[in-house]
Symmetry: C2
Subunit: 237 residues, 2 copies
């Protein structure tokens, strides 16, 4: 937790003082071990970043006077389109990509995505938000990513994707591709990553037809978790 | 398991037939669901890659006739020097970087590495090998990475590192650095990554003095797990 993320509900008087309990209180008290007068890096969810000066701390709550003046880091202009991974992996990936600065995520169905994954509690609104918050706290950011779900692969790719990738360079991660993922690029990008086992040929063809260029990342087949981070790293300016 | 990794002990008659039990048998039978006559991608640990044709499979063993002709993928010429992470994170990182093709890893002590980490069973020879094997199986590779341990930071950095980085471009991952990590580079490289919380200024200075150039990866502070993968991705040709 490199930044304490605040929500509007934390404020106890207009815009200056917050009172925190629970997980953040525990972290501030037990990990950061702050005393009255200490300053912490804080940020308002979807808002600005600044400092919080502790004026009360006890075994239940911590109170800070906050001043929020800086903007959060610039969002990374990469849209991530990800075949829904196994729930436990999804959790880690959401935190990873949030930490990397991604703000736009599509979780999609594809042939090798087990239908049961869609019923996982990990996809619950609060569970997803928890992972985003872990990523934001890690990266000193405040802007929540937006996640969308698309259960119909074909209609998503045919009807929605061409519009979505307009103005971006669109890549499909594919171990069989002839070109490697570009190593640096400042333009906005769209990235499509398949499920464990990969997209089936039909899906790959469809993605290509819809404007995605297939690129590989060396000869090795990477775990979803690895590939997501690795390919994003190559696309970030 | 995109490749079934074989060891010399698996061979039941000179160089052609193997008999597998345990984890690999279970995977072949329950996940891959192969039948007699089916072919699988196999590789000999630290050796060649090829095909295995199943000729017997029952509820205890699977027997294959193997033919090993291809070389494993080229190693990635990046040396990873990593401040020992938390044991559970180390496990995942070892599998990640092995899958990415890294063959040379140094795990080092630094100021913010908890001494207790060095006593974790995760650092046992067999446990480390298990993670490497997961990475190799994932990436269709056979060459085990080599891991070395350095408990004396200063003497490692001052006495050994200058020699180690000779002929490579050496980078230190540092959120405060002025230059970003290079996006693509075919030359051999050395990468130093700090512990959670980062290297302390003294350590950073020492690393710089010893020939490491500090580079950042955007303004965000990444988790070790994320940073390792991301920065490696930028260095891989």
């Amino acid at each position: 937790m490199n930044l304490i993320l605040l929500s509007k509900d934390d404020f106890i008087d207009s815009k200056k003082c917050v009172c925190l309990t629970g997980r953040r209180h525990k972290h501030i008290r037990e990990i950061l071990k702050v005393s009255v007068g200490d300053q912490l890096c804080v940020g308002l969810l979807n808002g600005k970043i600044g400092k919080g000066r502790v004026f009360t701390i006890n075994d239940k709550t911590v109170e800070m006077e906050v001043s929020l003046k800086s903007n959060p880091p610039e969002p990374v202009p990469i849209t991530l389109i990800l075949a829904l991974p196994r729930p436990i992996v999804l959790n880690r990936i959401l935190a990873h990509v949030t930490a990397l600065g991604i703000k736009k995520i599509f979780l999609i169905q594809s042939n090798r995505v087990e239908k049961s994954y869609w019923k996982s509690p990990v996809l619950g609104k609060e569970s997803i938000k928890d992972q985003f918050i872990l990523g934001l706290e890690q990266a000193k950011d405040t802007i929540l990513p937006q996640v969308s779900y698309r259960l119909k692969f074909k209609s998503f790719v045919e009807d929605e994707l061409p519009q979505l990738i307009k103005g971006t360079r669109a890549f499909l991660a594919d171990p069989q591709a002839k070109e490697s993922a570009p190593s640096s690029n400042a333009t906005p990008a769209t990235l499509v990553i398949g499920p464990e086992g990969g997209f089936i040929p039909f899906e790959i063809e469809l993605l290509k037809k819809s404007g995605c260029k297939s690129v590989h990342f060396g000869k090795r087949i990477l775990r979803v978790e690895t590939a997501v981070i690795a390919v994003i790293a190559r696309l970030i300016p």
